[in-house]
């Protein structure tokens, strides 16, 4: 007899919580769909909740590529109310899938006009960062190695086995770095980007799925078990490696011309949301001084608001490359898939 009771209990258990979960709660909760690297001080979100009565929940869906794929596959029944973290490398894919509702924040006028998108009201720029090579200062000093100055330097024998990059199919800095190589070496015959990558492969480059795995898993200055002193990361990463006693950064970024790619991250309100007005208020909040000033410390990126003050470590140790590579949004939209696939077919063998 205990058997029947057990089975009845199990069936009830399996059904009741589902029903409860579907009901949801009454207060407005916004769900922000984003990538794994997203982080913010909880105090800031508490402040927003106090001001507006809107609570924000953060839903991390994986690396940026995975995030966009997930969002596209559930376009009709969105996984959240807003999506933050789509950048200029993946933007064309998200826009082609028509994921976002148009919204132009009043505060857009306050931000640096360089980041405005022409004729595009569906996404709002929030931050930018330059994807650059980072190096472990101690390693290069100890081995008396010169810092590479161009991308082509990376194919030299003295840098064999030193570099770790990310898979551009899943990682956004990975894609940014691939785009930098496309811009620098071109796709035409002669020595093109694939030839360069072929040489990198022969120079024993290591590939990881995402930034976290590369920086905290393989980079000598980011991980105890790391073995690679060169990593594709951000120009804004070194401030996070500053030793409190000496005031010196353990890493540096290479900001030489034609080695960096400027990434702008956008937020969009997901089509199908039931909280459009509240989502718009959060977009406004993301452009506020308080939010913009919190960006560098929590996400290693620069604010798009020119009035936002930078933390001391940032102004001291983060370098902004003068000449990042230039590649237009239209070119990215036309070539991204082909380049990524060609890269995959060449490098993941």
């Amino acid at each position: 007899m205990w058997y029947r009771n057990l089975i009845l209990f199990l069936i009830l258990f399996s059904l009741v919580p589902v029903a409860a979960q579907e009901d949801g709660d009454e207060t407005t909760t916004l769900t922000l769909l984003t990538h794994d690297s997203f982080d913010l001080p909880p105090a800031l979100l508490a402040e927003f909740a106090e001001e507006t009565g809107i609570e924000l929940r953060i839903l991390r869906a994986g690396d940026t590529g995975t995030l966009i794929t997930q969002a596209i596959l559930s376009a009709n029944d969105p996984l959240g109310d807003l999506l933050f973290g789509v950048d200029n490398t993946f933007l064309s894919r998200a826009l082609a899938a028509d994921l976002f509702l148009p919204y132009v924040s009043d505060r857009l006028a306050e931000i640096d006009p360089r980041f405005w998108l022409e004729d595009e009201e569906r996404v709002t720029p929030i931050d930018y960062g330059d994807v650059c090579l980072n190096y472990d200062r101690a390693y290069f000093a100890e081995h008396q190695l010169a810092i590479p100055e161009t991308l082509l330097d990376l194919t030299k024998a003295e840098y064999a086995g030193l570099l770790v990059v990310q898979n551009p199919a899943t990682s956004s800095p990975g894609l940014a770095f691939l785009l930098a190589t496309v811009a620098v070496f071109g796709v035409e015959s002669g020595y093109n980007y694939l030839d360069f990558w072929q040489d990198l492969a022969e120079n024993d480059v290591r590939i990881t799925e995402g930034w976290t795995a590369a920086y905290f898993g393989e980079f000598t200055a980011g991980s105890e078990t790391g073995t690679r002193p060169l990593v594709v990361s951000y120009a804004s990463s070194p401030p996070f490696t500053v030793d409190e006693e000496t005031g010196e950064a353990a890493t540096g970024s290479i900001v030489a011309p034609d080695t960096c790619f400027r990434q702008v991250e956008y937020v969009g309100i997901l089509r199908g949301t039931e909280n459009e007005v509240q989502a718009q208020r959060f977009v406004d909040f993301m452009l506020s001084r308080a939010f913009q000033e919190a960006l560098p410390d929590s996400m290693y990126v620069f604010p798009v608001h020119p009035g936002a003050a930078l933390p001391a470590a940032f102004s001291e140790h983060a370098q902004i490359p003068a000449e990042p590579v230039v590649i237009s949004a239209a070119e990215i939209a036309a070539g991204r898939q082909e380049w990524t696939q060609a890269w995959l077919e060449l490098m993941l063998r």
Binding site: Y3, L15, P42, I58, A61, T66, L73, S74, L348
Partner: protein
């Protein structure tokens, strides 16, 4: 009509996604288009994926057989203490979810694993000495771990049915041990060897979770290649998926032919009890060696998993990783606390079990009815229902992805995307054939005279079913339900395609935590793995309830 529900289910959730994959790989905007196939034929990358898939499967099969063959001889020949325990232990890997096994091997041999930690402590070193993490060797060892039990069971089972006389004759004629193996034992065992090899090959051919979690980015089976393509180009992924399914069906067909043709040939002369204790020192050493290999192979990864889930870098044992599971903080990787994923998984597994039991029973009745009518192709429907089992998990999940991504998908199907029953629907595809397999023989075994007698005595149809048939089927239903439950709990390859990030299952949570490099995430992944392992083991242990009761005795 009512009994056709499983068939509708099969058409909608299995055939339709499969056809969507076929359509996507051959059609582009309504036109025949072979671009995707041309691509996978012309680029070396895809050929190498195929070669890698075959290569690693062949190597894994060979290694497994090399280890299991002498062990099978030991099991078939000798009596020794702890034999039953060892056999039970060796069966355990087969029911373990792939993510748990991957986590266990990372805990044993990975950079942060037990062996490396210990060597660093003993030797003293500053860096981990064994570079097993992300190596092909780690993938192979894990495959051996998984399939060792299958090989052992098939080989030793077959061995026991063979007569000892041939062997004894060879020995008394002065045959050396080498010639005994090569010219007597192996030829005798050939059918069992073929059957085991084909089965193991199929399992390794479709390996997904193990390769994804333990291999380097360059190590990709076809399954992993499909998964990577989904972020880039769906038609190429579809063409790969179709190629993979075609090869898999071919392999399964070969396996079923081999095992049907040969395994059932009657043995020369079978004797029931001829195991004996080892007689001389040499035999004792031989026996102990293989018992030790089996124990270490199966025991070490599981012990390492348990141990590492309770330990930090070097310090004493601590439940810290388990405590971390209850927390959800702002910076955490998962949307929910890891503990919630346990509730998610249990809920999905229970719904799957209900679905699978209902559909499996209906399918069994439907097949039994059709059998009576003596239709043509009596085996066809059976084979159709078994197809989801022989289709790779990745293809099943990817099929759903394709359906959701297609503009021509009906609205009600799309609505499933946001529904909690999506995962149970997917899991039921592989779970209900199991229930069918367990229930169908029991149903066939009910003598018609029993039903007739009940009817003559005035039992109404409903009464007849509840009081007569259900008790007779309950044994099979219970086994089928447990299998459905455990299958759903551990399912990874299909779920990863359709899972909603706010409702991760246990295996998905373990996968995401394991892919992060930080030790804290690694610890949590191991703790979750131990919990998943415990639930699976408990479910299987409940099968022992059946042991003391004859079929039909369990009352509902």
């Amino acid at each position: 009509m009512f009994l056709r529900v499983p068939l509708f289910y099969w058409v909608v959730f299995f055939l339709y996604p499969l056809l969507a994959i076929v359509g996507l790989s051959f059609l582009s905007e309504g036109q025949l288009d072979f671009t995707a196939f041309q691509r996978i034929i012309s680029r070396a990358y895809y050929r190498e994926r195929l070669l890698f898939t075959f290569g690693q499967a062949a190597l894994s099969t060979l290694l497994t057989l090399l280890l299991a063959l002498p062990a099978a001889q030991v099991m078939a020949t000798y009596d020794f203490r702890g034999k039953t325990v060892l056999l039970a232990l060796a069966t355990l890997p087969f029911v373990l979810p792939t993510v748990v096994v991957a986590a266990a091997f990372k805990a044993l041999l990975g950079d942060l694993g037990l062996v490396n930690r210990w060597l660093m402590h003993v030797l003293p070193l500053t860096e981990h000495p064994l570079p097993f993490e992300r190596s092909l060797a780690l993938i192979l060892v894990t495959h051996v771990f998984y399939n060792y039990a299958i090989a052992l069971h098939i080989l030793s089972g077959y061995w026991r049915t063979q007569s000892m006389r041939v062997e004894e004759a060879a020995r008394s004629l002065g045959c050396s041990p080498w010639r005994l193996w090569l010219q007597v034992r192996l030829p005798l065992l050939r059918p069992a060897l073929f059957s085991a090899a084909a089965l193991i090959f199929v399992f390794c051919f479709t390996s997904f979770g193990v390769v994804l979690l333990l291999g380097d980015v360059q190590h990709a089976t076809l399954e992993v290649a499909i998964y990577r393509q989904v972020n880039i180009d769906l038609p190429t992924a579809a063409a790969l998926s179709l190629t993979q399914s075609g090869l898999l069906f071919l392999l399964v067909w070969l396996h079923s032919r081999w095992s049907q043709a040969d395994l059932h040939t009657p043995a020369l002369q079978s004797s029931t009890s001829r195991t004996r204790p080892p007689q001389n020192t040499l035999e004792k050493i031989w026996l102990r060696t293989h018992v030790a290999i089996a124990t270490v192979l199966v025991g070490a990864p599981l012990l390492a998993l348990g141990w590492r889930s309770l330990s930090h870098a070097a310090g004493p044992l601590t439940p810290e990783h388990y405590i971390n599971l209850t927390q959800i903080h702002q910076g955490s990787l998962l949307f929910v606390s890891p503990l919630t994923t346990i509730a998610n998984s249990l809920r999905f597994a229970l719904i799957t079990t209900c679905f699978a039991v209902i559909l499996g029973t209906m399918a069994a009745y439907w097949l039994a009815q059709r059998r009576k009518k003596r239709r043509r192709f009596p085996h066809l429907q059976h084979a159709l229902f078994m197809m989801p089992l022989t289709t790779s998990a990745v293809t099943l999940g990817f099929g759903f992805t394709v359906v959701f991504a297609s503009a021509s998908t009906p609205e009600w199907f799309r609505a499933l995307r946001g529904s909690v029953i999506l995962i149970p629907i997917l899991h039921t595809l592989v779970a209900f054939p199991f229930v069918l397999r367990c229930v169908y023989p029991a149903l066939k075994a009910i003598a018609p005279s029993l039903r007739e007698a009940a009817a003559t005595l005035g039992a109404a149809p409903a009464q007849r079913w509840f009081r007569l048939e259900l008790p007779l089927l309950s044994h099979g239903l219970f086994i089928g339900a447990i299998f459905a439950f455990v299958l759903s709990l551990g399912e990874f390859g299909a779920s990863i395609f359709v899972i909603r990030p706010q409702q991760p299952t246990l295996p998905i949570a373990i996968f995401r935590l394991l892919s992060q490099p930080q030790p804290a995430n690694f610890g949590m992944a191991l703790a979750l793995s131990v919990i998943l392992l415990a639930i699976c083991a408990a479910a299987f242990a409940s099968l022992n309830l059946l042991r003391n009761s004859a079929p039909g005795e369990i009352r509902w």
